[in-house]
Symmetry: C2
Subunit: 392 residues, 2 copies
């Protein structure tokens, strides 16, 4: 395949800022008149979103069917309930309000609502999709970037599987990003969300391709922005500048634009998905524990020039330092951000996790999902177990 070859096609329309929320009703009505309305908690009745949706439905004459059963690390059974409701009520458009779990679930519902098949069969690719219902979103946390991309990740607790369904037709048609809605995001979620954005960018940055300098520089800038504003939003939750920058960074870290020239599979996310499928931990927390250890594992001749640029342009390190020193300082800065500034747990053992399932998880990554280990650096099953043990 040719080196510089891709199709850019990101059609999500984004309304950014509080005053843009007035466009909600007209946009929903552009796509349908019966709305499956997903949201993930009563906080949207306090911050005005719920009333906004209800008012819009009256003004623009669309019906609303509420669905509120989605939990973090969303289960395929809850998503199935959403599909069943959507079909029963003949909804023709979906509005998802919340974070990644809600929007991811809404995407899978948007595809499965057009099929006669169990959700999990669709997610694992046994049943092909045939388009999706149009999806609009209102994001209430800066984290997964699901509000502008094509993928939805859901879990099967029976089989301890966490799988993603990616379809271009699932990309939200319209997304509302109002930084003020994130003023009330608790510190822990602000921390985990920031780590998630950071990890999306770093996974993409450490790609085993020959990437374009342009997209590399954008990734470095995005990381610099997130590392700068994450701590500010953490300490001062109503800081509009910080919340706005995090909110606009989240989708661009993972909406495909910066990844078109980087085709290789990610590493840390698949590892973390397996961990959280087994232990049901917060995604961002799992990443915070994994990321520094993983990065130490991949320091080598090939990665050092990437660490150097990351250090200089994203972490403001002195360009006169040696490559190895830069790599170590970058990792140290990530550790400081996660464990000191954000006070996140740094060891899996403190979450009650033991090495008991590591063999099984590594086996799964190395065989069932062989491609998962073909990210930036292919890891053997033994090295994976070693990495997980370092996380304990």
């Amino acid at each position: 395949m040719q080196k510089y070859s891709f199709v850019y096609d990101i059609k999500t329309k984004v309304y950014f800022g509080a005053e843009q929320m007035i466009h909600l009703g007209e946009e929903v009505a552009n796509y349908g008149n019966k709305v499956l309305f997903l949201y993930d908690g009563d906080y949207i009745k306090k911050n005005g979103i719920y009333d906004l949706v209800i008012d819009a439905s009256r003004k623009y004459n669309f019906e609303i069917v509420e669905f509120t059963s989605i939990k973090p690390n969303p289960r395929h059974t809850d998503v199935q309930a959403g599909v069943d409701l959507c079909k029963k009520e003949h909804c023709n458009v979906i509005l998802a309000v919340g974070g990644g779990s809600t929007i991811d679930s809404a995407k899978v519902i948007s595809s499965c609502a057009l099929l006669d098949a169990p959700v999990w069969d669709v997610v694992i690719g046994k049943v092909p999709t045939q388009g999706s219902l149009p999806l609009l979103t209102i994001s209430t946390i800066s984290a997964t970037g699901s509000e502008m991309n094509t993928g939805g990740v859901i879990s099967n607790l029976d089989t301890k599987d966490k799988q993603s369904l990616r379809r271009p037709s699932q990309r939200p048609r319209v997304t509302f990003l109002n930084p003020e809605y994130t003023f009330t995001v608790p510190k822990y979620q602000t921390a985990c969300g920031t780590v998630d954005i950071l990890c999306h960018a770093i996974e993409t940055y450490f790609s085993d391709d020959e990437p374009m300098m342009l997209t590399d520089t954008f990734l470095e800038g995005l990381i610099r922005t997130v590392v700068h504003y994450g701590p500010i939003a953490y300490k001062d939750p109503q800081n509009e500048e910080a919340r706005a920058n995090l909110m606009w960074s989240a989708p661009w870290a993972i909406n495909d634009f910066l990844r078109y020239d980087k085709r290789k599979t990610w590493s840390m996310h698949p590892f973390e998905h397996e961990l959280s499928a087994f232990f049901d931990i917060t995604h961002g927390l799992g990443l915070a524990i994994l990321m520094p250890r993983y990065l130490r594992h991949v320091i080598d001749e090939k990665s050092l020039p990437r660490f150097r640029n990351l250090g200089i342009y994203a972490f403001d390190l002195d360009r006169n330092l040696e490559d190895q020193e830069i790599a170590e300082k970058v990792i140290k800065k990530i550790e400081n951000l996660c464990y000191e500034t954000f006070g996140l747990e740094s060891h899996l053992s403190n979450l009650g996790i033991t090495e008991e399932h590591f063999e099984e998880i590594a086996e799964k990554l190395a065989t069932d999902h062989g491609f998962y280990t073909a990210g930036y650096r292919k890891m053997s099953k033994d090295e994976l177990i070693e990495l997980f043990n370092e996380c304990l």
Copy 2:
């Protein structure tokens, strides 16, 4: 108006790379069956584009009406001829192959073809637009970024006016960017195109707003990329890496994304448009002469922190330097790029231009287009004349 408030809506689908050209026929056929086919020179019969279009028209059954009258700094009379032909032949889709002049003209044609009014009346806003015919483009030079944005600039030589018509409906639906098509761009055009991209980014960067750090970092990265690869493409025209990076930088420098949080009018482009409306010089060359002088004029307390970041992140300057020194070095680096590396002319007088019309031009900028002088720093008529004299 709220600080962080904008609508992101950039729906151009981009096929990037030589192997993506196979999608041309199906994409044209998606939008119509009778194509106004604009191109700007017989070079497209040598590099394969012409045959590709003809073959696609046979395979996908669309008719082609050729139009080849567009020249650099396109005249409203030529654009009018395009509109007349488009209407007479009942074309329902436009394919523009070439650089900014061709694509800009195609945009104005796409709007005017739906109206019963002279082109210039539409351009100056006397007659409102009512949508546009769908436009597809194949870019053959990395410069104006017209291939992914909404604006078309055309000139009226009678009134010595250069005006832009910007309409969301004019944004190309599909754009093909094949770096190989730019391998044969002559050195002079490569230089002028690179200066144009650089200037788009710098104009946007020096905006009198409180911009978002995220988009600032992207602009810095884009400038670093362009400053790095411009000289490589200039010396080694078939360097794919350089051509690909320039080709992907061009649209992002001006497709609105990095400008949504920066609402103020540009400065150098309006100045240069007036200059080239009077003297018909190459746009990129005019910018190369203006840019360093303009930047020296705007060094002040407010701009120094911006020069600092630009110096560190885009021009790899030492962060220990004083702000003033960084600003001067940034400007010196731009001068070196334009006049030494690219060997572009550095004085208007060497192009046969005298101060004769400066009073008139400055008057026009300061009165007719008063807003033109409300860019990064408002300039009086006297300061404008001083600036133009420094360019002599």
